[in-house]
Symmetry: C2
Subunit: 435 residues, 2 copies
Amino acid sequence: MTKPAVRVALLGCGTVGAEVVRLLHDQAEDLTARIGAPLEIVGIAVRRIGRDRGDLPVDPSIFTTDALGLIKRDDVDVVIEVVGGIEPARTWLVEALRAGKSVVTANKALLAEDGGALHDAAAEGGADLYYEAAVAGAIPLLRPLRESLHGDRINRVTGIVNGTTNFILSSMDSSGAGFAEALEEATALGYAEADPTADVEGFDAGAKAAILASLAFHTRVTAADVYREGITEVTAADVASARDMGSTIKLLCIAARTVDADGAESVSVRVHPAMIPRSHPLASVGDAYNAVFVEAEAAGQLMFYGRGAGGTPTASAVLGDVVAVSRNRLAGTWAPSESAYAKLAIRPMGDAITRYHVSLDVADRAGVLSQVAGVFAKHDVSIATVRQAGHGDEASLVIVTHTARDAALAATVDELRHLDIVRSIASVLRVEGDD
Amino acid sequence: MTKPAVRVALLGCGTVGAEVVRLLHDQAEDLTARIGAPLEIVGIAVRRIGRDRGDLPVDPSIFTTDALGLIKRDDVDVVIEVVGGIEPARTWLVEALRAGKSVVTANKALLAEDGGALHDAAAEGGADLYYEAAVAGAIPLLRPLRESLHGDRINRVTGIVNGTTNFILSSMDSSGAGFAEALEEATALGYAEADPTADVEGFDAGAKAAILASLAFHTRVTAADVYREGITEVTAADVASARDMGSTIKLLCIAARTVDADGAESVSVRVHPAMIPRSHPLASVGDAYNAVFVEAEAAGQLMFYGRGAGGTPTASAVLGDVVAVSRNRLAGTWAPSESAYAKLAIRPMGDAITRYHVSLDVADRAGVLSQVAGVFAKHDVSIATVRQAGHGDEASLVIVTHTARDAALAATVDELRHLDIVRSIASVLRVEGDD
């Protein structure tokens, strides 16, 4: 006995959407066996019907420009959204979820901006909301965070979640090139878009950080809660400085749980470039790969690695979700919606606990180190290592601190900048991965 | 309104079992929020009630030696099995599943030997069978294979799934020690058991390979289907030889899909030591860590990394499963059982496609290379690289082949062994990770 088909509406038919259509067709037999019923695309909403989409294996008559009309059709069970952006995607998905239709989306911007609206609609309609493709592309990461690690307690998530910036930083590290040159190469190779702002300024990573933090800490975290610093200011000198320390620079998204002296818990979520030791599992993640390092109380250290972007990997993640929600529908159930019971406070960046690496050019005379060290002490920042090298009447000091409040570290650097004996500050970088 | 508790029976209270009890107690509040109902341990079956188990946070009166009686109690919803071994575990779990009770087990030996019996019982009773802890401890790996990658097609799984052997090989690699010395160190540090046979002979990795292959290829694979070679024959010379090639030696479990010229698919599943290039993501997996590298058609390359053993990591994986099955119970559903629809044929080892690295001591005279190369050609094995180094009247040849049937490679080495001009074969190792 074959069960009736699970009927799918696809919103958007760009690179990822077209790949979803192809995979649904090419793997129809497998998917049917895995779900227990066939999948059928009953409609595809696009902005312009006539556009050339290559040779897609679907009846051209199912294309429509009326997305909302498609979503409302009685014969739609599952809605796949690969359009992106906040509106009209939010209106569409809220409509679908309230009507009890399962939603699979790759829309990280919407989830990070207003995931709550979607989760509320899913709870209201009794429907599934799955979004594995929204973070780290094909890497099965959200499902483990949502489900497998539910018996555990996550303390920290550190990720490389933007392929473009990882490509640029990897290339600066291997070739010694500056940011502009490496960006040019990334653009030429198709790793960076014509307008690379969302990637190089950390907006994309920031959205993903919000989604990861929400899942890891059972707390609603939005993009606005995430401290964000891009990689445009990273110089060849910074990269060389990191290399001298046996480290490399990565754009990290970090979501960390902090427990105060009085036992109160809070979360800090941030995206910024940081030095990590080359021995750290994240250091060897090269090219446009993504990886997410999770530290959990019982499970210990875990890492998930794979391709973070691209039509096929993203479509693979979408399809994995489609199988899950289809099975749920056939079983007459849906996964528990958002888990936001912990409601932890979000710490501002100034309260985040970080470490700094500061490289200074100073006058080479007696008492300089003592004066510089005094500034750190004044701000209650403890120094881990100092290296001093004299050349002519100048000397360079490379200082790595122990952990401290980020605001104290920033204030220290600010004061150093105004010190007479400090000729220039060559490099300031946060340090992650050990202490 | 609080829902009634999900009632748990625990079979076994050794290292992992005791840690499960502790975590269930310490994280009771979190678990209740995540499940939507509290968890309650109603009974713990052990061999001897009086044994000192430290200070466990449970009423001592719930211990029993009658496991079967405990499983059959009406007030048991979920059965956790951390006893291990084939019998009586199989009888217990089949009984539980047939009665519709959800089972969470870490029993890799049983799953690899007769997983079919458990899956059949689960289907019969309409119950969940979860076993994340059976492979790669705390790493959420089986759930992604079972669920997230369901929209994809896996072509190959390559894993380091035994912590003891990885510790030994990592230590041989870093110190140059021989196997016996490295094993002694592992035993002293608690990484190897008093009788290390199951680990060093590859039985443990073989069981895990069977479980991974079953999930990846939707085919029932048992431990008996897995070709198995341990690490006891790996010498310091082999490790040095690998190092010369920019490689390292790992005990790998490999499950690969092969498509014949006529389109027929089959699977080869094997465990043996192999050389992999140091640039491969698996090469940097050190100490007792585990990692599994997955190659899928759409998702591309993925890697999962983390702690493979230990009471707390294993208990964490068990608890993740307990949360999942408890939620399913509250929703009145259960996950789809085994997916074995593909029923691929298992290729014998002789038909597996592998590469060899062979290091020979030969007489240093004209025509030797030609004679040696002739033996490879006779068996249709194509040579990728040869390095020759003369010393005195002897020379050494290091030959790396292209891929070929394992039987042809083995026959080639066998014939080389009997060649007059071959003084000795210093090292024969399979090569993985590139071609």
